[in-house]
């Protein structure tokens, strides 16, 4: 990351992602759905209640029998507890709440969830990370492990650490989730992408978070 992008991220009055954090705070406190409950109505104030949550996600949801990332958890909460419609993937509302929740873990190290149900899913994520895919026949690992730091066209290849999501990406001129970023790469190697929320993407997220264990959450991050 260039010094100017880092400076933009570090200064909350320059970081445009803080606009979404503000949105998320308002949504956290807004009653929705048939329950007429807000997030705060159950959880209380987010700075205490949500501290560290983003640093240990994705988690296994026993009732749904699948792994869920933070956005998936927010939508499960909406349907189960607020009796509200789930928010659309990549909607400004969902990105706002997700950013606000993850922001409460800023500066905390990523910890690998020990839930045994997650281990085989994380392993599937690792295998997918190393699987060559698409017309270009490239695996995530070939760029992000073996060639990180070199330039693909004009862009420095990053090490693929999911420390800052949702991120404000200058190329997007807006906010986006880790799954949006993963789908970008899938299309880049000309592979058939997965829909938002697909379990394959959550498994890949599980592996990426384990791979980044100990790194500090920096949501909301700014990326080129």
């Amino acid at each position: 990351m260039s010094p100017s992008t880092q400076a933009m991220q570090k200064d909350d009055s320059q970081n445009p992602a803080m606009l979404w954090v503000q949105d998320g705070e308002a949504l956290w406190n807004r009653a929705v759905g048939k329950s007429e409950k807000s997030c705060a109505g159950c959880h209380g104030a987010a700075p205490a209640a949500m501290r560290g949550v983003a640093a240990r996600y994705p988690a296994y949801d026993a009732a749904a029998q699948r792994p869920v990332n933070l956005a998936g958890r927010i939508n499960l909460c909406r349907t189960r507890h607020q009796q509200a419609e789930p928010l659309a993937a990549e909607s400004q509302e969902l990105l706002g709440i997700e950013a606000y929740v993850a922001f409460q873990s800023r500066g905390l190290p990523i910890v690998v969830a020990t839930d045994p149900a997650l281990a085989p899913l994380r392993e599937r994520g690792r295998k997918f990370y190393q699987q060559r895919i698409g017309q270009l026949d490239l695996a995530c690992a070939q760029c992000h492990d073996d060639n990180a730091g070199k330039r693909l066209g004009g862009s420095v290849i990053p090490q693929a650490h999911p420390t800052g999501y949702p991120i404000y990406r200058l190329e997007w001129q807006g906010m986006g989730s880790l799954q949006r970023r993963l789908r970008n790469c899938l299309t880049g190697v000309r592979a058939e992408s997965f829909p938002f929320g697909a379990q394959e993407l959550v498994e890949l997220e599980l592996y990426l978070f384990a791979r980044a264990a100990g790194m500090l959450i920096e949501t909301p991050a700014v990326r080129p």
Binding site: Q131, R132, I133, G134, Q135, L136, D137, L138, Q142, C143, D146, N147, K150, R151, L152, G153, G154, S155, I157, T187, R190, A191, E192, S193
Partner: protein, 142 residues
Amino acid sequence: MGPGSSAFAQAPPPPLPYVVADDGIPEPLTGAPGDAVRGRAIVANRQAGLCLLCHSGPIPEERFQGTLAPDLGGAGSRWSAAQLRLRLVDGRQLNPTTIMPSYYRVQGLVRVGAAWQARTLLTAQQIEDVVAYLLTLRAPRQ
């Protein structure tokens, strides 16, 4: 063409057969000779050849060239036409772990997007054009 069909949607012909000898493909893939001018355009085009995403090369009008792979400058002094042809067609026959895509192979790929299924990255003629261009890239005499 009727409604719902287009040239894009039609299944392309399968790749032509070729014969590998030593570390190259001695015979051209097509009867028509390669055109170095067309080849240069393919190399420079980030949607067609994609070459400059990883390689740099003597194409000064194209900014933001990659650093993942060797400079294409001098490629014509380092390699013969046969060697260049195999490295483009399916370099993984020589180095299974290379990040260079196989530009003329449709077998053995996983989860190829619908728009690219059964399609080679370049056509046989485009391969010949790129080979012709790369052969013009001579290293300066010492």
